[in-house]
């Protein structure tokens, strides 16, 4: 078992599934579910392998760098892969009930997105990272446009421009680095890189590209319309996973190039932007008129928290654990919310918050999913969000940087503001305005499953953090 090259299968399985689903659309659902199963086995296999043997490096086709492509996996990779699996598996089941016709592009595009994400997490050099990032962005844009309405198309177009701009900026940075150091390998670069003007410009370009793709305030303009107008399973993937891809890349660069190139100002800027995201995103979510916009702005806010951890990364382990746990618990919670919002749209035909009468009576399980996922977003115990906040507060206190702790707590209260808006709406005992359409049980249950997962993440923090430590 531990000798198998799981690391390759983690990418190949969803990729093969994507091709099959494209060539054989009538069987798209079955192919997707099978490929999902296979990818799940591969990810679990790789994670066990990592836990036993430590970090893995694999040269594809036995060509070593600088000529060949090398894959690299450590604990951080494993946690990211597991996060992707955690969101993808229920989303595929949900999509089976959500998309009525079987011959749908969602299956091939979705699997392709999965393959791109897994490849991104496994890439060991800065150019492959660019390629996977581009593949990820393009499949995400195509998925956004799947909805087909003019709103979705406009949003997808804006998303495309932002995404291309981000990748381009990153690629410029890669070019500069290559010109100076003549290597693309991440670890080699990490050993030779210094703080000269060319490197600084390169890293700034790369980071800015990633910030745009991660939609960090104030570069978040493209996110709410794209995430709110996409189909529900797509929104779940976009908000739960795709933005994490570029965030992961930024973190990886930071960890590899740290501390040679980090000036205190850069981490401070990231932290301040994160704080801005928390406040501005939450405020917009509190004011949102439509449910999906509320959830999308909540993503803008929640993406701020990981950036609060950047100024604390220098202090040690706690901040990195907090950052990763924010990504993890937000992935599960936000996917749950978007899936549940999809059920609401299916039942009511619209999602204007003021008109969702009798929500609790029509969709009790979806309301439960909203609440449980909301608890994690607010960061109340015993959820995964609470663990992340606890770790962040500890890191802040340990280094005496109280400011970040206060921002975190402010974000807690603001998040409660928008989450309880949904709960209040649900508890209102009004009569139904019109007959809601039936919602398949599997749609409600998968959302609830993800919400429960986001809650239980708080109780299994030790093994997850243990895995994260592999190779560190």
């Amino acid at each position: 078992m531990s000798e198998l090259p799981w690391i390759v299968w983690v990418v190949l399985t969803p990729l093969a599934g994507a091709l099959l689903a494209f060539l054989w659309p009538a069987q798209g659902v079955r192919v997707a579910l099978l490929a999902g199963l296979g990818t799940g086995v591969a990810v679990l296999g790789l994670s066990l392998q990592l836990a036993q043997l430590g970090a893995q490096r694999y040269a594809v086709g036995a060509w070593d760098p600088p000529l060949g492509i090398s894959l690299y996996a450590d604990g951080l990779t494993a946690v990211m892969l597991l996060m992707t699996l955690l969101v993808f598996a229920p989303t595929l089941v949900y999509a089976r009930a959500y998309f009525k016709q079987t011959a749908h592009l969602f299956w091939s595009l979705g699997l392709f997105l999965w393959a791109a994400l897994n490849a991104l997490f496994l890439s060991g050099d800065v150019f492959n990272l660019y390629v996977t990032l581009e593949l990820l962005g393009l499949s995400a844009v195509a998925l956004t446009a799947l909805g087909g309405q003019s709103q979705a198309l406009v949003a997808a177009y804006r998303y495309l421009l932002a995404s291309l701009l981000g990748s381009l900026s990153y690629l410029l940075g890669v070019g500069l680095l290559y010109a100076e150091y003549a290597t693309l390998d991440l670890q080699t670069l990490g050993q030779v890189i210094g703080l000269d003007p060319a490197s600084a410009v390169a890293l700034a370009l790369m980071a800015t590209g990633m910030l745009l793709k991660t939609a960090l305030f104030p570069l978040h303009f493209w996110l709410p319309p794209a995430h709110a107008s996409a189909a529900a399973p797509v929104s779940a993937l976009l908000s739960g996973l795709v933005v994490k891809g570029s965030l992961y890349l930024l973190l990886r660069l930071w960890l590899e190039f740290f501390p040679e190139t980090t000036v205190p100002a850069s981490s401070l800027i990231l932290g301040l932007l994160g704080a801005g995201a928390v406040v501005w995103g939450s405020w917009q979510a509190i004011r949102a008129r439509r449910l999906k916009f509320l959830v999308a702005y909540s993503t803008v806010a929640q993406l701020g928290y990981p950036f609060l951890a950047f100024p604390l990364l220098a202090a040690g382990w706690d901040a990195l654990a907090a950052l990763v746990y924010f990504m993890l618990s937000h992935a599960a919670a936000k996917a749950a919310m978007f899936l549940a919002a999809g059920s609401v749209l299916r039942a009511f035909g619209q999602d204007r918050l003021a008109e969702l009468h009798g929500l609790l009576r029509v969709l009790p399980l979806s309301v439960a999913a909203f609440i449980l996922a909301g608890i994690s977003l607010i960061g109340l115990p015993p959820s995964g969000g609470f663990v992340a906040k606890w770790l962040l507060l500890e890191a802040a206190f340990a280094t005496g940087q109280w400011g970040w702790a206060l921002v975190t707590l402010l974000g807690t209260l603001l998040a409660a503001g928008y989450v309880f808006r949904i709960l209040t709406r649900a508890l209102e005992d009004t009569t139904l305005s019109d007959r809601p359409s039936p919602v398949p049980r599997s749609m409600e249950l998968t959302a609830l499953l993800l919400a429960v997962a986001s809650l239980l993440l708080g109780l299994v923090a030790l093994p997850v953090l243990g895995l994260l430590e592999v190779g560190r």
Binding site: A398, L409, L413, A416, L423, L427, E428
Partner: protein
């Protein structure tokens, strides 16, 4: 996991599982829901009594779950835990019975009883939490689970109250979290068994400890309704009567007071607090709350609001007793934790009956109530006299020990606060009793002679039981199972015999 840990887990599950199951029951399955509810409540009470017996024998149950590196979630059945645990388990059983009768025929009962059970789950967790962050986890769970109960009626006023309740309690929770994390960064996991753990910090940064104490008490003070942090409590009165009863007697305000008790005895320790000179500020804050609550109660015509302000005042008796830092104050404060619960829950259940049966919600409408509902009014009167502090009712013992505690402390003037508060208690309760028993009702109504005639037995039995406990535990104050004796035993352990 040892056998004792399983018992503690079972104590939590006896309300968690019924709560989750009840959510999925159909609205109409009243019998099944009631059976599940009561079975859980009875089982829990038996388990807590067993645990209490074990503690009496010197056996301390403990359950640990690794949470984060170096931080465990701990449940631990020590003296204080079973003290508060028994109060919540016992009163939950009675309140459940009352709530079944009270909500008969009203909508959304599955939802109500589901959250009701989760609320008690959280309270039991608070009781048995073995360290500060476990305590915090259940403390926040309590906020989430009580919100749907507060807004249960679904009216605009209820949602308004719910918003205010949330703003206060989540804000308090955030401040508390700040204190808890800070403390665990300073001193590692703050288990309630390691009181001396802060001594090392004290030698280096005593002023930080003062600041953390302020954060902790301010966070807990929101739920304990300390002066300036209390405004949510009278507003939350829009909740149905069983919720108010539970909120005021065992769940929310008690969680805050219990937290202060834990912080004083099991986190900082009496000696350290005295050296940090934090006893006087805390006692002053409590005294101010006592007087303010009583004065405000005097001005309310709405019966539930008068009771609410009375709670504001009475909860601070506990805080005052603890803040005096002496053994006698400890006895008074801790005993009052139980005594106030018994008395206040009786009064709220009676107030619920008045409003449910005769639509009487104001003090000014109470005329002749003694003739209309003699049994309910008798229970109400008995506990009102107890609140004033008439011997041999339980309230007398609380005040007696608190006053002694004040006199033995460096600040004997606090005895005057207790005296003044007792006079105010009399001033706002006696007119109600006078009107109910001695003023003729405006319209003659048929008298009820037997308990069955004035309201359903499910509504009447719980307040009768609790009011008899108010009398019985006063008469038998020296018996081994009286809260007073437990408080004395705790004080001996804490301060030496």
């Amino acid at each position: 996991m040892n056998e004792g840990g399983l018992v503690l887990l079972a104590i939590l599950l006896t309300s968690l599982v019924p709560g989750l199951v009840i959510f999925f029951l159909a609205e109409a399955s009243v019998l099944l829901r009631t059976v599940i509810n009561l079975a859980g409540a009875v089982l829990k009470l038996l388990l807590v009594l067993w645990t209490m017996h074990q503690v009496g024998q010197g056996v301390i149950y403990e359950l640990r779950w690794p949470f984060l590196p170096g931080l465990d979630l701990v449940l631990r059945a020590d003296h204080l835990a079973v003290f508060f645990g028994l109060l919540s388990a016992g009163l939950w059983l009675l309140t459940t019975l009352y709530a079944v009768g009270y909500l008969e025929g009203s909508p959304n009962r599955s939802r109500f009883f589901g959250f009701f059970s989760l609320c008690v789950f959280s309270t039991t967790g608070i009781a048995f939490a073995g360290n500060l962050h476990t305590f915090f986890i259940f403390y926040e769970l309590l906020t989430i689970t009580t919100y749907p109960l507060v807004v249960h009626r679904g009216t605009a006023a209820a949602f308004q109250a719910g918003r205010i309740y949330l703003a206060y309690t989540l804000g308090g929770g955030a401040v508390l979290l700040l204190g808890v994390v800070w403390l665990s960064v300073l001193a590692g996991p703050v288990d309630f068994t390691q009181v001396g753990i802060l001594e090392a910090v004290y030698t280096q940064q005593p002023s930080t400890l003062v600041l953390v104490f302020a954060l902790l008490v301010a966070g807990l003070g929101v739920k304990a309704a300390l002066f300036l942090l209390h405004s949510w409590l009278p507003i939350a009165m829009v909740a149905p009567a069983p919720v108010s009863a539970l909120l005021h007697a065992v769940a929310v305000v008690k969680a805050g007071a219990f937290g202060v008790v834990r912080v004083v005895y099991d986190v900082y320790g009496v000696g350290l607090l005295a050296r940090l000179e934090l006893d006087l500020p805390l006692a002053l804050w409590a005294a101010m709350t006592i007087l303010y609550g009583s004065l405000m109660a005097l001005r309310q015509d709405d019966l539930k609001r008068r009771l609410a302000y009375s709670t504001v005042s009475q909860i601070s008796y506990i805080v005052l007793g603890v803040a005096l830092l002496g053994p006698l104050g400890t006895v008074g404060g801790l005993a009052h934790l139980v005594h106030q619960g018994l008395m206040k829950i009786t009064m709220f259940m009676c107030a619920g009956i008045f409003s449910e049966v005769h639509n009487v919600k104001k003090v000014s409408q109470m005329a002749g109530m003694g003739r209309r509902m003699p049994w309910t009014m008798a229970a109400f009167s008995l506990t009102a006299l107890g609140m004033i502090g008439l011997p041999p009712l339980v309230g007398f013992y609380s005040k007696w020990y608190l006053a002694l505690g004040a006199l033995e402390s460096p600040y004997p003037a606090f005895a005057l606060v207790l005296l003044a508060s007792s006079l105010l208690n009399a001033a706002y309760f006696l007119p109600i009793l006078y009107a109910a028993w001695f003023v003729a009702p405006s319209a003659e109504l048929p008298r009820a002679s037997r308990p069955g005639q004035e309201t359903s037995w499910m509504l009447l039995l719980p307040p009768m039981v609790t009011s008899l406990l108010v009398l019985g535990m006063g008469l038998l104050a020296a018996s081994p199972f009286s809260p007073l004796v437990w408080a004395i035993r705790f004080a001996q352990g804490e301060h030496g015999p």
